[in-house]
Every structure is written in structure tokens, then in C-alpha cells.
Subunit: 421 residues, 2 copies
């Protein structure tokens, strides 16, 4: 739901307490629900108002999803700030969804394609109000800690054994999550033409799966940076277990402090946390890290056009995060005179990945409930389901950008090497 | 050579007539040449000054290329506005090059990587002064006429039988020009997943090779737009010869006047003539032309970072032309909510293509001289050689951008379909 497209009239109506029957016989509550439905484009939804027992649905369609609203305060808050309040009310249990949560969220995303009112003053104002928390060296540590240090055990319940927390690559839609995560790592390594003895620097390494894959399967030497303490500890333990501690160095430090020169620069799923204000610095870091014939790859969630992250996601899930358009991503490469060789958009792969995460998450709820309260349990479900909806509706994209130095002429003529026979 | 990096001191020295021996014994001419060489990074060049007989080369290196300057006026003009004056003096025969012309031009491009002083006031000023001729409906007709209506016979002397005047695609570096042009058309058609019965609109169709290929080999129905009268006449004749006049319609009109809805939007080598001020309109045209599951491809010369076209090229060869950075190209897609699926940079293919054009051009000089004077003959050689140098040094890029509508979910999971086994 889109606060920017919230007509002023609604807020006025929402304040019109006490609630009473209108002249037409419909309660004020029912009229508010109808306004909300109209804003949503009258999707096949039915609202159940718990405090009156009323059921109000879009006219002329059989409802596919039912939303139970616990109390009038929730309904009013939804009308005031729908995008943030829906998430919070769902997490608190004041909204219950009967039916497919992903389907509901897709209806909402389709009703409000991002950027439909781009350029308007209200949109720019809301963009300014919604600007993410700044990613200074200290700010980044705080932002990353809030999401990635929730506990390695929690993430291991649903990420699968690779512990890769980024979009997988499905050679076919039937591939398992583990197969698709390994295929993603191979896809990245092939694009980068990684070979035995190559030196790699990785900016943002999660729990270390790509760094370990590059060293273990490709014979590379990897220095991997991350500011999440828990992730680094986990990654180091894995390196020892796999006997790769001499080939992979996990460094608890910010990407801005990367030094040295390498054959390969890789960053998978970190750009979302960099902040637009730091893109040119990231480009300088990538440029100065690369040998004359060095290759780089940045893999990131993106957008078809510039827009702030969903405000509930930025507030409750990913503080400081931002998903750039491809044009915005070019602010990394262009000032640094890096040369973009290849861009691939694999957004539908993220929907497939998230569907598998959500299934595993639901199956692990018993254990999750021993770690977190019910608010968190529901919030996390909504985050995963909403992300599926965002990628399936094209609200979010997933870009892999391959680049090299401007002067490098050792570039394969075709991309067939990425697709071995 | 880069006017923007021209130190003021040089202009002053250049004005210091009458020419006399300096205290060190070197002539003022020789000192000016040394200043020019220093600006160029002291490449292995030797200047022969025809009016004094002096030979002045970079110190400590055996010269690989010799430049014979006919008179002092040419040397002075080179120092005043080197980028434009070099081209004009070469065309007029006031500069003769002994040695490899491409190698000379690559040295110059490598000495002045584009955008090294980006953001400076002088650079922005020079960018403003060098802004290309505007591409209004009428301006575009004039600009296109000047280049593309030089005579179909002239172009047929060196473009090869496909008459494709855009970057080819070399499956291997040994492919012939004809093989590589056909491979390029197939590469484009595969990316677009072109199939029998698909409707295609082409914006800027040259002499019709791609449109005819799409209809003849893929069974598509094509409407192809072009504002070059001579090209359209040629393309129509080819359609009749090939019996494709019922499947391909060649329309002498501007891309801005495209109407109707299609499965495919294709534009190969037109964007260079569109003008940045029209990118968002091009995006709107592409968007409104596409069915819900439509695919589009724009193939264009580009840059690693924004910069004006070489001023001699814009003035003498391609009036109104501009090669955008990828970030600038996104101004086509982002405001129109188109979704970029795939970007491929094939700049080295353009160097290979141009090398084959240059060989054929040199072999056809006898015929060219019956059509044009020697100034034109030399100008065209410099344009082809300079373009080779620009693509080989990374001064220019070649981007193919594949896109679709924001809502289209019928997207193959992988790009393997582009690389059939």
C-alpha cells in the first residue's frame, strides 16, 4: 500500500469519530474499508471487522483472501500510514490473513506499481522523509548488526546448508535450494573467469559461502571483508573445518578499508547496504583493488527506476538499505572509469529462492519460537512473503553487473564461456 | 588529442612569431613539437617539419610512426585546436602519416583517456561548446542525410554484401565480415526470442538487412522506420528481390511517429543519432509499441562515462551524434518503467568490424576516387582508423541492451537460449 497515493480525503474520513451508521445504512467502518479497497484497485479481498462482525469485500468478485482486522484502531492506523502500519499490525496479530499471504501482497504491489507518480513534489518529499539511515563507518556497523547478528542458529534454520543469504540461480525451476545456491556461486565464478591461483577480494561475505567456494572449488586465494561479527566468526569456523584457512582470510572490517591489488573483486548482496552516497567510493575501492586485467562483479537487489525501499522493510528489517536502479548503480562504475561488460537481471530467481526460504522457515517455526516472540515470528514471515511478491511483480529486480578496468582488452569475444556444454 | 587538456602556455608559445632559434639552439618549431609530444605522453612518434627539414622525435625511443607536417601554419593550428585540426590537416594532406595510422591514433587515445578531468569547469564548458547539433524532427533529417545519403554505391564498396553498417558479432576473430554480420543479426534475434509470426517494429533500419533477416529467416512481420531516403529506396528494392515485400514494410519516417503494438521493438545503431534530449521520448515510444510480453533491444555505441563525441567526428562525419554512457542510456528505460534484462558490451567486435571495413575501403580506393575528391578519401580513412583506435583503447563501447515491460514474467530463467548447442 502506498502512502504517497493516499488521498487527503481518507485521512479526514478516518478522523470522523464517533463511528455511526451513515445515511446509506453502511457503517462508517464499512465505508472506510471500501475506500481502502478502491485505492487498492478493488482486488478480490474481504475484510472481516472483528468488533462489528461485518464482512466487506470488493463487489462482484469472489474474495480469494480474507483479512481479519482486530479493532477499529488498527483500521484507522491502516488508513493513516498503510505501508508501515500494515506490517506492524500483521506482526502484532491485529491483522490476520486467511488465504495466500503472497497472493495478497502481490495484489497490493500490482495495484501500486512503484514510481507511478515519479517526479511529483509529494513523491520527492516522501522520498526525502523515507531516506534510509546513513551508512557511515559507524552507521553501517549498527545497521548490519541489527539484521545479520540475529543469531547464526536462526538463519541456519531456513537458509539451507550453504548459508548463502542472497539470490540463488536456478538452472531449472525444479532445482533444490542447495543446488541453486551452488549454481549461483559457479555462475559468478564463471562470469569472473576465476582460475587457480587468482587473488580475490570480496566485499561483504555473509557467512563465507562464496569465498570458501572460490577457494575450495577454483583454487583461488580470497580475502573476504564483513562487518558482522557473528558472520565472520561462523565463516572462520567453516574455513577451519574445510581446511581452507590458509587460502581464505575472513577480515572483520568495512569494505572501505580494503587494500592491496587483486585479480578479482566480488560483492554479492552487499550493495543494498552501501547507501547511494557511497557508490562513488565503492567504485574507487573496486578500481584501486583491481590489477590491469582484473574482473569485478557486483550482485544486488535493484529497481526498474529509482524509488525508496518499502518503508516498513527499511524500518523493521533492513535499516539503512536501498535498492538502486541500474542508472544509479552506474554511479559506482562511471566516475571510476570502470567498464561494464555484462549485466544480467535474474529477479525471478529471487522469487524462487525466497519461496524455498519461506517453506523452510514455516517448517522450522517450532524452533524459531524458542528464540523469538510471536511478533518477530510474524514479522519475519511477512518480510519473506512480501519479498516474494516484490520480485514476482517486478517491484524489485536482481542485477549482476560484471566489469573490468577501462584498459583491459583480454575480454572473451562471446559469453559462451559462462554456459559450458 | 584533447583540447580540454591544452595548457594555456602552449597557445602563447604558438603565437610567439617570428620563429627563431632559441638560446638552446633548438628552433621554436622544434620546441613546440616537443611540447606537443610531452602532452601526448612522449609516444614513439617522429615529426618531420617539411619547411625546415627538421626531424623531432620523442627522446630515448625508436619512432614507430612518422608524421610529416607540411607547413608552419599546420603546426600552429594543431597546437591551437588539436582534436579538430589534426583531422582536417590530415584530410587536406598537410599531415602525412608514415607507419600505422591506427597505431598512431591508439597512442593518442591512450595518452588522453576520456574523462580524466571530468567535472572540471573547463571540461563542462568544452562539453557545452561541443554539444551536438539538435535532433528535432527536421534536424535529424538533415543530420542523417549528411552521412547516410552519400550514395548507396559508395557504402556497398566496403560494407560487404549484408550492407549492415553496425558492429558485427564475431563468433571467432577469424570469421569473415559477412559471417559476423549474419551472426550479429542472429544474436539479436535470439536475444529477442524472435519466432514465426512475431510482429516487429524497427527504429532506424539502415539498408534493411536486419528487417529482411527477421522476416526471411525467422518468419517475422516487420515494419522498419528510417529517415534516410536513399537507404529506404535500397531496402525496398532488396525486399522485392527477396520476395519479402509482403512481410517487411519499409517506412520513410521518424521513429517518433511509430504507431501500433508489436511483439518486438528493435533498434540497432540508431541511438547514436537520437540525442540525449530525446531519450525519454524514445523510451515512451518503445513502451507504447510493446505488447504486455514484448521484448526490445537497443544496440548502440556507448561510453564508460559521459563525454561528448570526438569533436572532429561530430563536425565532419556524424553531425548531431552522441555516444551515451550506460547510465545515460538508462534515461530511456527508467522513466518508461521498462525492465532491463541483459546488457552486453561487445566493443572489441566493433574494432574487428572496422578493421574489415578499412581493408575493403583501401582496396576500393580506385572506385572511391571516381566518386569523391582526395580530401574526402583521406577523411573517410581517418574516420575508420580512428574508430578502430577508439574501440581498441576502450574510448568507445558497444552496448546491446535487452529489455521488456515491467510486468512481463515470461522471461527465460537463464540466457542459455542465446547460445544454442
Amino acid at each position: 500500500m502506498d502512502a504517497a497515493s493516499q488521498p487527503e480525503g481518507l485521512a479526514t474520513a478516518a478522523d470522523a469519530t464517533p463511528v455511526a451508521r451513515s445515511r446509506q445504512g453502511a457503517s462508517v467502518d464499512a465505508r472506510l474499508v471500501r475506500r481502502l479497497l478502491a485505492i487498492l484497485g478493488n482486488p478480490p479481498l474481504e475484510f472481516l471487522l472483528a468488533w462489528t462482525g461485518e464482512r466487506i469485500g470488493a463487489q462482484g468478485t469472489a474474495p480469494a483472501v480474507h483479512l481479519r482486522i482486530a479493532d477499529r484502531a488498527t483500521l484507522l492506523s491502516l488508513l493513516r500510514d498503510p505501508r508501515v502500519r500494515f506490517g506492524d499490525a500483521y506482526s502484532a496479530g491485529s491483522i490476520e490473513v486467511e488465504g495466500d499471504l503472497v497472493q495478497l501482497l502481490e495484489m497490493v504491489y500490482r495495484a501500486f506499481p512503484q514510481g507511478s507518480a515519479a517526479g511529483s513534489l509529494s513523491r520527492r518529499l516522501s522520498g526525502w522523509l523515507q531516506r534510509p539511515r546513513r551508512n557511515t563507518l559507524r552507521g553501517s556497523r549498527r545497521n548490519i548488526h541489527r539484521h545479520y547478528d540475529l543469531g547464526n542458529e536462526f538463519y541456519s534454520l531456513w537458509l539451507g546448508e550453504t548459508m548463502a543469504y542472497t539470490c540463488a540461480y536456478f538452472p531449472t525451476a525444479e532445482a533444490s535450494l542447495e543446488q541453486a545456491q551452488v549454481a549461483k556461486m559457479d555462475h559468478v565464478c564463471r562470469k569472473l573467469r576465476l582460475k587457480v591461483g587468482d587473488s580475490v577480494v570480496e566485499a561483504g561475505c555473509g557467512w563465507g559461502s562464496l569465498a570458501l567456494h572460490m577457494a575450495g572449488r577454483y583454487g583461488a586465494r580470497v580475502r573476504a571483508f564483513n562487518i558482522s561479527k557473528q558472520q565472520i566468526q561462523y565463516a572462520r569456523a567453516r574455513a577451519r573445518e574445510q581446511g581452507l584457512e590458509n587460502r581464505v582470510e575472513f577480515i572483520e572490517d568495512d569494505y572501505r578499508n580494503i587494500s592491496g591489488r587483486y585479480d578479482v573483486f566480488a560483492s554479492v548482496g552487499m550493495l543494498e547496504h552501501v547507501g547511494r552516497e557511497n557508490y562513488s567510493e565503492l567504485g574507487r575501492v573496486a578500481r584501486r583493488s583491481l590489477n590491469a586485467e582484473g574482473r569485478g562483479l557486483i550482485h544486488s537487489i535493484g529497481r526498474n527506476r529509482p524509488a525508496p525501499l518499502h518503508p516498513w522493510i527499511e524500518r523493521r528489517i533492513f535499516p539503512g538499505a536501498y535498492a538502486p536502479s541500474l542508472g544509479e548503480m552506474m554511479q559506482i562504475f562511471e566516475p571510476a572509469s570502470l567498464s561494464v561488460l555484462d549485466v544480467e537481471n535474474i529477479r525471478l530467481h529471487y522469487a524462487l529462492t525466497l519461496r524455498q526460504w519461506l517453506v523452510r522457515y514455516e517448517n522450522a517455526l517450532g524452533k524459531v519460537r524458542t528464540m523469538f516472540d510471536e511478533f518477530f515470528v510474524r514479522m519475519w514471515r511477512l518480510y519473506l512473503a512480501g519479498s516474494i511478491a516484490a520480485f514476482e511483480t517486478g517491484t524489485l529486480q536482481l542485477f549482476q553487473v560484471l566489469f573490468t578496468t577501462a584498459e583491459n582488452n583480454r575480454i572473451p569475444l562471446t559469453r559462451e564461456f559462462i554456459y559450458p556444454r
